[in-house]
Symmetry: C2
Subunit: 190 residues, 2 copies
């Protein structure tokens, strides 16, 4: 998506070979109309795939998950985060490791909100190592629901999370796949 | 807002005299079109007040803050949460107490995202004791910005946070003010 790539180049800040900050429009300040456009583009890529629910994890994925769900006319569910591991009888849960926070986090979803009839599209702002997505996929499996695919705004291809998902046969669509941040320069895959 | 009150009655679950769960449409699963309607209603109440930015704190306020910002055609900023107290030189921050999680949380915002020219509307899904709002108001003050008002979806009037803000002269608009949850029954103020 060219407009997104342009915005990353103009407003993004490369802090290291692995860290890109897009605070000004994606995950600290959000440009609502642009967020709607991002959601429409993700929805377009999964239109006709029978998505019944969009699924994300709090917090920074909520905005684009909401606009994608709005375009697909389905509800959006967001997994909640809790430190440590807890297994409630009313929730599906998974333990993931946050490389950013360097701690384990438990993500959980009330069992009422995803069931075996659901066809779920996972949406998130970033895909790096893929830990959050692995946890969400686990929850979808626990619910007996089907995973339609994964829609991502910015994929850091060089961190391997996307490749691992694709090898498992998961369809991953990224609006801005980045192959390198080396030398302070953003290099896109396509 | 009648449609919201109806949804609270139909879908909400009163778990105790102080706890109302609205997981199915507001803060775990979100109905995107209804979220747009809620945002439009909050925007209508603050139309013409010169709002330049909508402000919320992650995570559950993000959806309605986004739709309010969309209707007002301004950016939305969300404060990030961190455990403990940290004071970065690049951020405004405030320490708040979460009654739900029973722990202190530091909320912070990059200084670039709110400045002295901003007229800020705070939006959140719930207003109870008002701790999150107090923290956000502090950050707005640190930035030298003006607080236009506070837009809330569900206010638990009996927990006093709204009264404290109104006493300080802050305009608080709640789409569903609840005066009591006693006996498992939701009683609205109006």
């Amino acid at each position: 998506m060219q407009k997104l790539k342009d915005k990353i180049i103009t407003e993004g800040r490369v802090l290291s070979d692995t860290v890109l900050k897009v605070d000004s429009f994606l995950n600290h300040q959000v440009d609502p109309e642009f967020s709607v456009e991002l959601g429409q583009e993700l929805a377009r890529r999964f239109a006709g795939d029978g998505v019944t629910k969009v699924f994300t994890v709090e917090a920074s994925g909520i905005a684009v998950a909401l606009t994608t769900a709005l375009a697909l006319k389905v509800p959006v569910v967001f997994a909640k985060k809790k430190r440590g591991t807890t297994q409630g009888k009313n929730s599906y849960s998974s333990n993931i490791y946050s490389f950013t926070r360097q701690e384990s986090v438990d993500i959980h979803v009330n069992k009422k909100l995803i069931d075996a009839k659901d066809q779920v599209l996972i949406v998130d702002d970033f895909l790096a190592h893929g830990e959050a997505l692995r946890g969400m996929a686990e929850i979808i499996e626990q619910a007996g629901a089907a995973l339609v695919g994964v829609g991502i705004i910015i994929e850091k291809v060089f961190q391997g999370g996307g490749a691992a998902l694709r090898e498992k046969g998961v369809r991953v669509e990224s609006l801005a796949p980045i192959v390198s941040l080396a030398g302070g320069k953003v290099e896109f895959a396509e």
